[in-house]
Amino acid sequence: MIGRMTKVAATATAAGMILAALAGCAANEETPGDGKGSGSPAAKLSGTIDGAGASSQSAAQEAWRGGFAKLQSDVVINYDPTGSGTGREQFTEGGVAFVGTDAPFSLDDVAAGFGSCADGSGLVEVPVYISPIVVAFNLDGITELNLAPKTIADIFLGKIAKWNDPAITADNPGVNLPDTNVAAVHRADKSGTTENFTDWLAANAKDAWPHEPAEEWPVSGGEAAEKTQGVVATVTSTPGAVGYVDAGQASGLGWAAIKVGGAWVSASPEGAAKAVGESSLQEGRADTDVVYDLNRTTEAAGAYPLILVSYLGACEKYKDAEQGKLVAGYFQYVTSEDGQAAAAANAGSAPLTSEEGLSAKVSSAVASIG
């Protein structure tokens, strides 16, 4: 009982400090350089923190680091896009202060503890990067097509050879589809995008997609390309090619609208955020561990469930309290309206803040860092 009281008290103190820090930031923003808020010790941070992990976040991390540098010019944030798996490993070993990951830590990982965290500290894990995945194609003069999940499955299984296949024309009345060969391009490297795409296919195409969700493309054969940029370059240079890529990288190509419930929905940040709002939190996790079981089969109007959700992970309490303050400040910024807007502008992601329930959960989890 006493232990619990102490913990609550500590959390309250930490939250108080962060509020003070936020007040300081806000004051700085409104009246730059007038010295207001500099009295608060937490207002001006300095130091370096290192993070590593998902490469899907790298464009967003770039925007966040740039934005945070304007608020806290003495803080250096490093983010090494080594990939989710490597990032999680480094965070577990204590090599980095925070981690970006496409797949959340398992409960076993959480129970085993993390290298940089103080003894008994919990894990703070929040979704920060929600990106629609687009089935993007290269057909002369066609910028949008309706593709049902089963049709997409058949395309990527190589069962549909031509773009004027009856399965495609049936869903696209009035579109003059050419006799071009379909070239489906998948990722050659292990990737969170592939895992989310195959997860969505498995949930929606049912029997038409016989594979389990996986980071490595499960179908043997077919066009493969390295990284998101490789897929984009291949699809762009090949008439009739189609691939799956993060929405932020797919400009200039045609986008497929997917069938959700009875309606056709195009990829959009709002639709992606809506789909997250339609999902439920994973059970058995702490309040600070905001992890979603994505509802891939939602039928809510306007929801776009073909999404990738990438998380940031940090300790509730750090061994080194200074690191805690820096991470808290950075996470506050990342999940703020400004931070999310910066990522949306730079990476085409969906702002968390467009879903009210979600952003409340995230900010209370972030407030517990320190």
Binding site: S55, T82, G83, S84, G85, T86, R88, E89, N181, A183, V185, A188, D189, K190, S191, G192, A214, E215, E216, P218, S220, G221, G222, E223, A224, A225, E226, K227, G230, A233, T234, S237, T238, G240, A241
Partner: protein
């Protein structure tokens, strides 16, 4: 000594970290492989296959350029220019070749693949169906060929230049044409140098990572001599590069094990190369 120590260090690292991977079972291996050799065998084949294609494309122009620079036009501006341009090629980073292959060469090769698939499908190499993107083993081999051309040409040039001038002049004085003189006086003496150049190029082609990873459309576990299809054997180096970032634990060990296999293959190739070179010398 230092070189030997570094080499031994690399070998020990690979053997300690990657050796146990040989016994890994499904689950610990990348790409859902059921055994280490199911993964390593086709990848080793892919590495060798790309290197062989690259060597086949690079050898004739390398020898031709070297002859042009030493025998046909040794002191003329053209010969020197050719040599200088080739040396410059050696300084281009492989990522640049990869980008070039991906964005320029592959789209150009698409129609070539289609043509080969239509008119020569009875050759196992062109069995098709042709890749619409041109990102095939053939294209990857061509890109790597351009990359290994400078080192091969330089080796050939050095050895051709060692041919005694008196020998060449004697040949010409006896009424031989330039080409006959090259065949009788220059090439036999330079055989070991040419083999050495080829082996150096082959070694580089085996290990080439970025350019192949960017250009090739790989299918793991595939062994095929078809050079124009979308389904191509993957290479060890490119597979390691593209799988490593998202791997953890034992899977990393398995990738290092693949590195050990590549090391073994390279060693074997250089031993064979030395044999060929030595046999050739006495002539």
């Amino acid at each position: 000594m230092a070189v030997l120590a570094v080499l031994a260090g690399v070998l020990i690292f690979l053997a300690v970290e990657g050796g146990p991977a040989v016994f890994y079972k499904q689950g610990a291996l990348p790409a859902h492989a059921t055994s280490f050799w199911q993964l390593a065998g086709p990848l080793a084949f892919g590495s060798l296959w790309v290197a062989v294609i690259a060597l086949a494309f690079a050898a004739p122009p390398a020898i031709g350029v070297a002859l042009a620079a030493t025998v046909y036009a040794p002191n003329q501006r053209f010969g020197r220019l050719l040599a200088a341009v080739l040396d410059l090629l050696a300084a281009v980073p492989s990522v640049v070749f990869g980008l070039w292959g991906l964005m320029i060469l592959a789209p150009l090769m698409g129609p070539v693949d289609a043509w080969l698939g239509r008119y020569l499908p009875w050759l196992p190499f062109f069995a098709g169906p042709p890749s619409p993107t041109g990102r095939t083993v053939l294209t990857a081999g061509l890109v790597v060929a351009v990359m290994i051309l400078p080192i091969m040409a330089a080796m050939c040039r050095e050895t051709f230049a060692l041919t005694p001038t008196t020998l060449m002049e004697a040949g010409l004085a006896l009424g031989a044409t330039r080409w006959e003189m090259v065949r009788w006086a220059v090439l036999p003496g330079a055989r070991s140098g040419m083999v050495a150049g080829a082996m150096l190029g082959f070694g580089r082609a085996l290990g080439e990572t970025m350019a192949v990873a960017m250009v090739l459309s790989p299918t793991p576990f595939l062994v095929s001599v078809n050079v124009i299809s979308s389904d191509n054997p993957a290479t060890i180096a490119a597979f390691i590069a593209s799988t490593f970032p998202e791997s953890r634990g034992k899977q990393v060990g398995a990738l290092i094990g693949l590195g050990l296999v590549l090391f073994g293959v390279s060693l074997l190739i250089s031993v064979i190369g030395r044999r060929i070179g030595r046999k050739a010398v006495p002539a």
